[in-house]
Symmetry: C2
Subunit: 95 residues, 2 copies
DNA sequence: AGACTAATTAGGAATAAACCTAATTGCAAG
DNA sequence: CTTGCAATTAGGTTTATTCCTAATTAGTCT
């Protein structure tokens, strides 16, 4: 949970997630989109992987990163719970 | 957006949010729940305030913190968008 | 005013994060 | 087997975060 929100707390990592919505991408393709050194991007990919937000698999010479939706859903569930019980207009008990 | 996820990326701050779901609390009441110095908690409250997750207002001698649901909803919307267009089973276009 | 309580601000130390360059590993051809 | 491309790991610097204690501000009460 903590690694998850930490991973989301960086613009570069959020943009990587955004890129991966269209489908898996190679590390190099991702790195090419940013104005920073490739190893820096590798670091961000590692953070995303450790948070469970992406999976990596080797495909020949390159490595393909794929978005893992279920990790996003986990964060989503946390926030939904927060909104539900925190909003006075949405308590099922006191109808 | 960035401050928002950054604020959520710390267990103490998430627990403060959780505490505030039941209703507003004074700074001291919040600080009393943690095993750390009060000024440290003040720092976390400031981070939450800057993220828009809480509002603070003075109430006599004390200061009351209140959860701001709409900021949570903002994060929620971001993640929802991610799940929607990232999930192959949920593309309305290709039915 | 003076004393007491609530909370923040100031300043500083320890730890973690983000970034870089250089060196290394893993695969694929030739 | 060696050359070349893809990507990561290593090592180090800069900046940000987290936490502490001490000092300060703000409000209450007698």
């Amino acid at each position: 949970m903590n690694l998850l929100f930490k991973a989301l707390a960086h613009p570069v990592r959020r943009r990587i997630i955004d890129m991966l919505r269209a489908g898996p991408l190679a590390s190099g393709d991702i790195a090419a989109e940013f104005d920073m050194a490739w190893p820096t991007v590798t670091g961000h990919l590692t953070a995303l992987k450790e948070a469970g937000l992406v999976d990596a698999e080797r495909a020949g010479a390159s490595i393909r990163y794929r978005l893992n939706i279920s990790a996003v859903e986990e964060a989503l569930a946390f926030l939904m719970d927060l909104v539900r019980t925190g909003d006075p207009a949405a308590k099922p008990q006191e109808t």
